[in-house]
């Protein structure tokens, strides 16, 4: 028999080089390329020139202003929901929680469209009920405040999740001890629970801020018509008016966004590090406080909020999609499915977008799964010193705003690929690679949690049974992580299918995605078609969220992002 030179670990020798290669191409290379261009441009005086450009200052100011107030709105909304739903005896918590999570899974451009449909003089819904403001009056959402408000709605669920996780991890015996010490409910809340839950709230606020800074869909739809630019939309417009200095400019702008995001993420990291008290004592269900006569009020408030931030905009979106010819008010008799027929059967552009988005998303979800199962195995079972660095590098592309990543891939592939001399710029492949990079972390996380739950002896028993790596993977490991792998595929598909930021920069004729199609339809004034496409997207999002919700019991904790 052969005497294989084989270290004690269970991995085949090609696994480490494989993982390193994947991480290099999906994370190190594009971000490195971006950094190199940015630094080179800064050295050549690009920085000075950029600092002298008032447009850049204005965009940076707009970004900070909208993100800050968006964060405040998200904290108020998400914090309120988290406190009420986690600590108090509200009825219908599951439904409220699920509905509250929806806005974050709905693509931002769809959120923006649905809110536009709810306000302003051209709102089909308002016109149908006779409440529309007179023609010619301004659309109130086309403003800094409008952008900030929608940032708040879109990102409130992030605060909700973070605070809720913090609240659920509170030591229950601490709360009970305070009660025994004679503190009233209110005092326990004020003196014990709120101080202890502050890190969760702060972390949620930081993530919300980062998410606002990188948001593209909302300021693209609400800001560009009013000439209000944020950093991401400024990058987009620079590409639209392409010139010799564009690459240098956009790499500096992306660097600016990256720095803002990293600052936010560093805050999150810091506040969460102080949470060592988590391990002390029993944690789990927080004591539920009774609201008594206030319960009805609280429930009414919660449902009213859901109504305003979710049902009304979505109703407006549906109304817009059913709108008859211009000028005819919507009613049950005038409603028409014309827009749906148009996007599904007539318009080549939208049909291509469907094909592209679904193809890209399926390709990304399944392609990434192959990569992440191997990488996850390496990270969990590996005894390598590099596992920490590799996990961190895998996280970065997803943590950074999509616009930064898109710029990085443009820089990387603008010229033909060396050696093989093929250019993938402007093809669907550049979008696919950027998706791989961006959603790597999304795909990896469920798989890693699942591998962590697999007892190593299950694999060791298979090794002694004589099964080599491939065999073990097929017969033992993959079946054991299958539910998480399924969740990973659905999540990546869901996010990739709704994605706009990356494809907005990378698409060209024939490679538009659903996100791009919605944006372009709105941009060209076909508001009813954009709305119809958005309605279909929302239906798809809700359907897949429900599937994940139903799978949740069989999945490791933390896999379904909106459950804690």
């Amino acid at each position: 028999m052969t005497r294989a030179s084989h270290r004690g670990n269970s991995q085949p020798r090609w696994l480490f080089p494989f993982v390193i290669t994947v991480i290099f191409f999906l994370s190190v290379l594009p971000l490195g390329r971006l950094a190199v261009t940015g630094i080179a441009s800064a050295m050549q005086g690009g920085a000075r020139q950029m600092l002298g450009d008032p447009g850049v200052w204005q965009a940076a100011y707009n970004t900070l202003f909208t993100s800050f107030f968006g964060m405040i709105a998200a904290v108020l909304l998400g914090g309120g929901f988290a406190l009420l739903l986690t600590l108090f005896d509200i009825r219908g918590k599951t439904a409220l929680g699920f509905l509250f999570m929806l806005p974050t899974m709905i693509p931002p451009q769809v959120t923006a469209l649905s809110w536009i449909g709810m306000t302003g003089p051209s709102s089909t819904l308002l016109k149908a009920i006779g409440l529309a403001p007179p023609l010619g009056s301004p659309q109130p959402l086309y403003s800094i405040g409008g952008i900030a408000l929608l940032y708040g709605v879109q990102n409130a669920p992030l605060v909700y999740l973070s605070l809720r996780a913090g609240l659920l991890a509170l030591p229950r015996d601490g709360v009970e001890a305070a009660r025994l010490a004679g503190a009233s409910s209110w005092q326990v809340l004020r003196d014990v629970i709120l101080p202890l839950s502050l890190p969760g709230l702060a972390a949620g606020a930081a993530i919300a801020f980062v998410s606002c800074v990188g948001n593209f869909g909302i300021p693209a739809i609400l800001g560009i018509p009013a000439s209000i630019y944020t950093l991401p939309t400024l990058i987009y417009s620079k590409f639209a008016s392409f010139g010799p200095g564009t690459f240098g400019d956009v790499s500096l702008l992306s660097a600016l966004i990256a720095i803002l995001s990293i600052a936010g993420l560093a805050v999150e990291e810091r506040v969460l590090r102080g949470r060592d008290y988590r391990v002390i004592g029993l944690s789990g269900q927080v004591a539920v406080f009774r609201l008594g006569s206030w319960r009805r009020m609280a429930e009414l408030g919660l449902w009213l909020t859901i109504f305003v931030i979710l049902f009304m905009p979505l109703t407006a979106l549906v109304a817009s999609s059913l709108a008859p010819a211009y000028g005819v008010p919507l009613s049950t008799s005038t409603a028409t499915l014309h827009a749906y027929r148009e996007i599904l059967f007539r318009q080549a552009v939208t049909r291509t977008a469907f094909t592209n988005s679904i193809g890209l998303s399926l390709g990304t979800a399944f392609g990434l799964l192959v990569v992440t199962v191997l990488t996850g195995y390496f990270l969990v079972r590996g005894k390598s010193r590099f596992t920490r660095v590799i996990s961190a590098l895998a996280e970065i592309p997803y943590a950074l705003p999509g616009i930064v990543l898109a710029v990085a891939f443009i820089l990387l592939f603008a010229a033909p690929i060396p050696i093989i001399g093929v250019s993938i710029y402007g093809t669907i492949w550049i979008i696919l690679i950027a998706y791989f990079s961006s959603f790597f972390a999304v795909s990896l996380k469920p798989v890693v949690s699942a591998f962590r739950q697999v007892d190593p002896s299950l694999e060791e028993a298979a090794r002694l049974a004589g099964a080599g790596f491939g065999r073990r993977l097929r017969d033992i490991l993959v079946p054991l992580v299958a539910p998480a792998a399924g969740a990973s595929v659905i999540l990546v598909f869901l996010i990739a299918c709704n994605e706009l930021t990356i494809s907005a920069l990378l698409w060209s004729a024939g490679t538009q995605t659903l996100g791009v199609a919605i944006y372009n339809l709105d941009d060209s004034g076909s508001f009813n078609l954009a709305s119809a496409l958005s309605v279909l997207v929302v239906v798809m999002v809700v359907a897949m969220m429900i599937v994940l919700e139903l799978m949740a019991k069989r999945l490791p904790k933390g896999v379904v992002p909106w459950r804690s």
Binding site: M1, H6, S457, L458, E460, R463, L464, G466, A467, P479
Partner: protein, 342 residues
């Protein structure tokens, strides 16, 4: 099949740290049943995992007959060792039925379906689980799961079977039943077996040879009878049987088996000179008239007798059995009929 040789085997998990296994040399004869006995954390599992191929030795080598399985430079992966293991956690694959679990090693080896079915049926019959063939592991009790794991070892006729505290998760009643199953399994398969345990009674009852480990080192290897009667060193003496170790003045001769007169002489001498460790088992301590005085420290009623803890005048403690009840604080006179110098 051939004998399994561990040659100066060492393993350190951290560079320069205290080795988990330190210079262990051991030969397990073909078809032998070796119990690896030692307190928790002494490195038993690490030895077992090195034999299985899950860990690489940092020094020394492992041989099966002429074939080198592992040394510090190279090793044969577990897939190619033709060994089997029973894990403390059973390690049954939850997504496979009992039949599939047991048949998997054969499937991997490319055994035909009919032959596989026959062998699985045989193995399940050997552990008396025929009627559970289609269940999932989740629907079995702890003892049944352990028997499935054993059947999985049985099917491939492995050269070496490794068992890592296989009874630790079972209750006492099941343990006895399973011990019987292991003995049968050994007799039937003729495989070389290595059985890790921290329970000396289990080791004595099952094995043909017992190897005692402590802090990574091998202290003694011998048959259960030999280990019991002639333990080497304070650690082995303390671990095997329920004996107490006394530190007494060293006698002039080097006799090791001591009778009552010899003990009397040693107890009488002052302890200022060189000391010797002497193992005294409770059944050799008898309450007699005109023995040496001993104060009762505690009494435990065990049903058929009382177990006493006694203090000698110099404060050293002894254990003894008595048919008569005694109270803490009583002063008895005892004789030590037999003792073993360690």
């Amino acid at each position: 099949m051939a004998k399994l040789i561990l040659n100066r085997l060492s393993k350190s998990f951290e560079m320069g740290g205290r080795p988990a296994v330190n210079d262990v040399s051991l030969t397990v004869r073909e078809g032998g049943f070796l119990a690896l006995l030692g307190p928790s954390g002494c490195g038993k599992t690490t030895v077992l995992r090195m034999i299985a191929g899950f860990e690489q030795p940092t020094d020394g080598s492992i041989l099966l007959g002429e074939r080198v399985l592992a040394d510090a430079g190279e090793m044969v992966p577990p897939e190619h060792r033709n060994m089997a293991m029973v894990f403390q956690s059973y390690a049954l694959w939850p997504h496979m039925s009992v039949t599939e679990n047991v048949g998997y090693p054969l499937k991997v080896r490319g055994v035909s379906r009919e032959k596989r079915q026959r062998k699985v049926a045989e193995a399940l019959a050997a552990v008396r689980l025929e009627s559970y063939a289609n269940r999932r592991p989740a629907d079995l009790s702890g003892g049944q799961r352990q028997r499935v794991a054993l059947a999985r070892c049985l099917v491939t006729e492995p050269d070496v079977v490794l068992l890592d505290e296989p009874l630790a998760n079972l209750d006492r009643h099941l343990r006895q039943e399973m011990e019987e199953t292991f003995r049968e399994f050994h007799a039937r398969s003729g495989a070389t077996m290595i059985y890790v345990t921290h329970d000396q009674a289990e080791a004595m009852a099952l094995a043909t040879d017992v190897a005692v480990m402590s802090e990574g080192r091998l202290l003694q290897v011998a048959t259960p009878e030999e280990i019991y009667a002639r333990p080497e060193g304070r650690l082995v003496g303390g671990l095997v049987g329920q004996g107490a170790v006394l530190s007494l003045a060293s006698p002039h001769d080097d006799k090791r088996l001591l009778d009552w007169p010899a003990m009397q002489a040693m107890l009488a001498k002052s302890r200022s000179g060189p000391a010797a460790d002497v193992l005294v088992r409770p059944q050799d301590v008898e309450v007699v008239p005109n023995g040496i005085p001993a104060t009762v420290l505690s009494v435990l009623f065990e049903g058929e007798r009382y177990a006493l803890r006694l203090a000698l005048p110099d404060g050293q403690t002894l254990r003894a059995f008595s048919r008569q009840p005694a109270k803490a604080g009583d002063v008895l006179e005892v004789a030590i009929h037999s003792a073993w110098r360690l």
